[in-house]
Symmetry: C2
Amino acid sequence: MSPESAPFQQVLSAYRSAVRAKDVEAFLAIYADDVQVFDMWGAWSLRGIETWRSMATEWFASLGDEYVVVEADEVEATVAGDLAVGHAFLRYTGYSAQGQRLRSLDNRITVAMRRTEGAWKIFHEHTSAPIDHATTKAVLQRDGG
Amino acid sequence: MSPESAPFQQVLSAYRSAVRAKDVEAFLAIYADDVQVFDMWGAWSLRGIETWRSMATEWFASLGDEYVVVEADEVEATVAGDLAVGHAFLRYTGYSAQGQRLRSLDNRITVAMRRTEGAWKIFHEHTSAPIDHATTKAVLQRDGG
């Protein structure tokens, strides 16, 4: 068991590319068939690659001709054999087709990955934003920006 | 690497006992010194056992003579060598000193644990509730109950 961010960096890189390209198949390729997600939005839990496919399909379709750039900060991971755990802060910035910055929001991501036939795939993902005690609203920017 | 919930069940059991007893030292005993937490409330990230000690001390003190019972549901975990990852739904129910049920809320928890000298300790914890898209408010009950 050792600190080793390479598997997570590799998965994050594929995640960024797939989101930027709004490519559902490339996006799903980094997830295991039995993936179970505690997603930031809506449901308490999503289970299985087909449920996750619906989420990705709807997300990318909702963007129209806009696109999203994902940046990762404070990326850390630990690996033991074929199991890895990683966490990071992600910033999602939306741009118009003309490249104008429209909006951005941050989240926190924790993933559990397993290596199967040489490829690391996420089998559990947990994304969230912290909740303000007084309002019970999510804090969607990490530094007010 | 295998599905194996025992280390996580053991840690959850210690967590429940420590919270029920409002015992800060027993609570901290299940966390590693370098623990990094994406907590549901307030801050984006908490780092280090002393920061976590402050959280636990304030939490337990805020309860006065009330107490909290934690129940876990859908507990799953995976172990590889000295690394384990687990996730579950937790329900926190507050009771008066006389045993009257006062309130409850749910969260989702993901933990990464390492085994050191035979003891499993949490070095990363992520708790959250899903966020309603329309209101950006946290959903604090899993089944409306």
